[in-house]
């Protein structure tokens, strides 16, 4: 639940979570176990094809929700079920309260429903003195602790067996052991009594199949079966997005969700309820059954060309499972009621701007969620879009506006950087790092040594470096991005050297500026569009390729430019088509061999930049290039996990960034490599700064640099 009023308060809460050693350990174990389980579950399948199917089925449903609702209602009502539409959470809660009253219910057992969490249903029912008992083990635990879920599938993942034992001791007024198997048995026995006594059962629904008026429920514990069987009244509550056309649609979703959620082929129980079934405790022997469909803004969302895809979400929780920020701080900080990347988005729509304001900034933009989503939702883009929307609605903060204004004007921006070089002198002590942070930053930002701005930017060196190539194989333009141009010009120099030696003619168009990603990260969408146009103009020469050594620039230029300028912008499309990362150009286009490189077999490990391995789909090329370049490649276990930089993210959330970095460095150290190689200056800034301060014992280099070192 979000209570923080501003970013500073929110950072304090994040700090507390970071300092919770049990939570950190639990999250860490989960984050390493989950990908293995998932990969195993999907081993015999074409995952992307399955996910595409889910997206297709959901999109088809989203485009005709009203029609599906009408069909479902007709079918279900013919089958003895009463179907309700609730325009918002309050209305849904009132309907449940009314049903309880009309049927003289006193005690309610519930199986897990995120929708009921969304509407805070329990609070409303307790106002009427109804006793409400959650029966999902995790939900029961957090209910007893008066907490919200910290994960959509595993709501009590933040708690230890010791905490549960203490809690159960209070509940049973008996001492309980901390043995998990025994604690589960205690819950079994205590809850069995509740089912027997309850007169109403409340469930969610994972599917609502229109053609037969059937609801489908996935559970592992089997509690939904008892909840829907024993009490005389059953109320199911579901978002209208759970409607689907046919059983076939539902089966396609069922094939993906358990695998993506927990690495299970299928949940232990899948229950399909069509109509009001036999119930011996009900008058007439037939269940009093209701289904409440909750709108709560979903109908409006369905009409939004960009945000309609949010309704594809099947609540598997995978976007949290792979999120590096979730891994550090857990679900209570990485969501309000809904958790993870989707939670950041849903919070804005269901629980308002107040609750979402800080959350939408806590995305490091690593795209891990986008690539794991069961329904192919472009989560990071939607989060950025919301951030920008909130700023537009509430007014942009001054520093962000100024940055936008500054970066829109390349000359002004570059003059600023050159001036900053002079201003930093007292801080660097003549080294390549900023040795002393200005006092206001030093407390939170001192976890990495920050690089100094280079004495001479690449743009001022290029004319002298430009290789003279006769009969070039390719003519390419170099897109530097601001970090390499002004901080790490030596990386570009190395690339120029290696490319030149392979017969490539290189140009460096001087009018290029920042790619604009930092602006987008800060929610300054308009300024980022202006910058995109300027860069496309600047790079308009007749080049075969536009090469970047910065993964974030590459993925922003290639994927976000066409999005920002409109999919029909031919210039943006043609520009984007030419963009290629350095390692992909070297291997896929040039097809370099090992002949030009001295083979020292120095042990090297890699950090795969988020925007390279996921953003650009470039995974094997840098590994291959490293080997061709004469290094022994040692794969780090967490090679593809974010380094914690995220551009402006590390400045906004230094505590989280620091912890992600520490984990990353430890992972790299386990390979016993002498050098950690990557292909993004942002990652280098983070990793090298961290390695320097932590005395990690390995060098951090750009792949172009290590290749240049070995060039014969």
């Amino acid at each position: 639940m979000q209570t923080a009023k501003n970013l500073s308060d929110y950072n304090k809460e994040l700090r507390e979570a970071l300092d919770n050693t049990f939570l950190r350990g639990a999250m860490e174990k989960f984050a390493t176990a989950y990908p293995v389980g998932r990969a195993n579950a999907f081993r015999e399948y074409d995952v992307n094809a399955l996910i595409d199917e889910v997206a297709k089925v959901k999109d088809a449903g989203i485009s005709r929700l009203n029609e599906l609702y009408a069909e479902f209602k007709a079918k279900a009502e013919a089958n003895g079920i009463k179907v309700h539409w609730a325009k918002d959470g309050d209305e849904a809660n009132e309907i449940v309260a009314r049903i309880a009253k009309e049927n003289s219910c006193k005690k309610i057992v519930k199986s897990k429903s995120m929708t009921a969490e969304e509407t805070l249903l329990n609070h409303r029912l307790e106002k009427d003195n109804l006793e409400v008992i959650e029966t999902d083990l995790g939900e029961w635990i957090i209910q007893l602790r008066s907490e919200g879920p910290s994960h959509m599938v595993m709501p009590a993942i933040h708690l230890s067996r010791y905490q549960v034992a203490e809690l159960f001791s209070q509940v049973t007024k008996q001492d309980q052991s901390t043995d998990i198997q025994r604690l589960v048995k205690v819950a079994r026995r205590e809850l069995r009594r509740q089912y027997a006594e309850a007169d109403m059962g409340i469930s969610g629904a994972n599917f609502a199949i229109a053609e037969t008026g059937t609801i489908g429920l996935m559970t592992n514990e089997g509690n939904a079966r008892l909840v829907t069987t024993l009490p005389r009244v059953h109320v199911a509550i579901a978002g209208i997005d759970k409607l689907c056309g046919s059983l076939n649609d539902a089966l396609k979703i069922l094939r993906v969700v358990p695998k993506n959620a927990t690495g299970q082929a299928i949940t232990s129980y899948v229950t399909w309820i069509s109509g009001a079934n036999e119930c011996q405790s009900a008058p007439g022997g037939k269940k009093e059954m209701h289904i409440i469909f909750l709108d709560n803004g979903r109908s409006e969302m369905a009409k939004d060309p960009l945000f309609a895809q949010v309704l594809r979400c099947v609540r598997c929780g995978a976007c949290a499972n792979v999120c590096p920020v979730y891994r550090m701080v857990g679900g209570h900080q990485m969501g309000h009621i809904y958790i993870g990347a989707i939670g950041l988005i849903l919070t804005y729509f269901f629980h308002g701007k107040e609750k979402a304001r800080n959350l939408v900034q806590n995305c490091i933009n690593c795209e891990a969620c986008k690539h794991i989503c069961a329904a192919g939702i472009d989560l990071p883009r939607l989060i950025k879009e919301l951030h920008s929307r909130i700023l537009d609605e509430e007014g942009h903060p001054l520093p962000s506006l100024l940055l936008g204004k500054l970066m829109k004007n390349r000359k002004l921006f570059h003059t600023f950087l050159r001036t900053a070089k002079m201003a930093q002198r007292p801080l660097t002590g003549g080294t390549q790092y900023i040795r002393h942070l200005p006092h206001i930053f030093s407390k939170d930002h001192g976890f990495k040594a920050l690089p100094a701005i280079a004495a001479k930017p690449f743009r001022d060196r290029f004319e002298a470096l430009k290789p003279r190539v006769s009969a070039p194989k390719y003519r390419v333009a170099l897109f530097s991005g601001c970090v390499q141009d002004f901080v790490y010009p030596e990386q570009l120099e190395a690339a120029v050297k290696v490319l030149g030696a392979h017969g490539v003619e290189i140009d460096f168009p001087m009018d290029q500026s920042c790619c604009g990603l930092p602006l987008q990260m800060m929610g300054e969408k308009k300024a980022s569009i202006d910058v995109a146009r300027q860069n496309i103009e600047a790079m308009a020469g007749s080049y075969d390729y536009i090469i970047t050594l910065c993964a974030s620039c590459a993925s922003h230029l290639k994927h976000n430019y066409p999005f920002l300028l409109g999919e029909n912008d031919a210039q943006a499309k043609a520009f984007a088509a030419k963009v290629i990362p350095f390692s992909a150009f070297m291997t896929d286009v040039l097809g370099v061999t090992d002949e030009k490189f001295t083979q020292t077999h120095q042990r090297a490990t890699m950090h795969a930049p988020c925007h390279l391995c996921r953003g650009m789909g470039v995974v094997e090329q840098p590994r291959k290039l490293l080997a061709l370049g004469g290094y022994e490649y040692a794969q780090a276990e967490q090679e593809q996990v974010c380094c914690g930089f995220g551009g402006t993210y590390s400045a906004k959330f230094p505590g989280v960034s620091e912890q992600i970095l520490k984990n990353k460095l430890a992972d790299a150290a386990r390979t016993a490599a002498e050098v950690l190689v990557t292909e993004c200056p942002g990652c280098i800034m983070q990793l090298r700064g961290g390695a320097e301060l932590n005395k990690s014992g390995f060098a951090v280099r750009h792949i172009a640099e290590v290749l240049a070192d070995h060039l014969k």
Binding site: K185, R188, R189, T212, G222, A265, I273, S281
Partner: protein, 210 residues
């Protein structure tokens, strides 16, 4: 037409992966003998009321005391001939057989004995029409669920039984269950625990029905 050996093998493997105990039987009599053996081999006190050996609240304990001594097998949907066979075999081992009245046994019974409608090879799941409340409860409040699945009814995927599944859902009303392994949870520290609300064990008996 029965399943191919590959489908059968996959069904067994997938079911075993989620800790189901899979065996093959030649006849219903053999399936019944298996079930009665299983029931009599179990320690009654452990079998009877899982959780009752733990420290419980006073109210939680009340329900344990409702349970009478003696072992019970519930077989709500069995045909008369098979039921007679089960009663006969069970009686010799001092096990009672019930086919209804499950609501008075909510504290737990030893074994729920059912015949499944279909088997799904892809996931090792059983498809069980659970429209009868007695049957639904028998498969939930039992400590062990023994399900017989006729071999000819095991198919590769849900798509291969699509018309049949849809036919179930088109009945008015219908309660259909896919059951895969025993009831499980990992809600405390992600440690797997079987039998949180439903059966602690699932036994699948593949019945030769050529």
């Amino acid at each position: 037409m029965g399943p191919t050996p590959e489908v059968l093998e996959k069904f067994r493997k997938k079911a075993e992966l989620v800790s189901a105990i899979v065996s093959e039987v030649d006849s219903m009599a053999q399936a019944i003998a298996y079930t009665v053996d299983l029931c009599s081999q179990k320690e009654a006190c452990q079998l009877l009321m899982s959780g009752c050996e733990e420290s419980l609240s006073d109210k939680g304990r009340d329900l344990c005391e409702l349970k009478q001594f003696g072992k019970i097998i519930a077989a709500p949907a069995l045909n008369d001939a098979d039921l007679a066979e089960l009663v006969k075999q069970a009686a010799s081992r001092e096990i009672s057989v019930i086919k209804d009245g499950m609501r008075s046994h909510l504290a737990g019974i030893d074994i729920g004995f059912t015949v499944a409608d279909y088997g799904i090879g892809e996931t090792g799941s059983l498809v069980i029409d659970s429209s009868s409340e007695e049957l639904r409860l028998a498969t939930m409040v039992s400590e062990i669920h023994v399900a017989v699945i006729p071999k000819s009814r095991i198919r590769a995927t849900t798509e291969d039984m699509y018309d049949e599944l849809k036919a179930f859902q088109s009945r008015k009303p219908n309660y259909l269950a896919f059951v895969t392994g025993a009831s499980r949870t990992a809600d405390i520290e992600r440690v797997l625990a079987l039998g949180v609300h439903g059966p602690l064990e699932l036994h699948i008996l593949i019945l030769e029905d050529k």
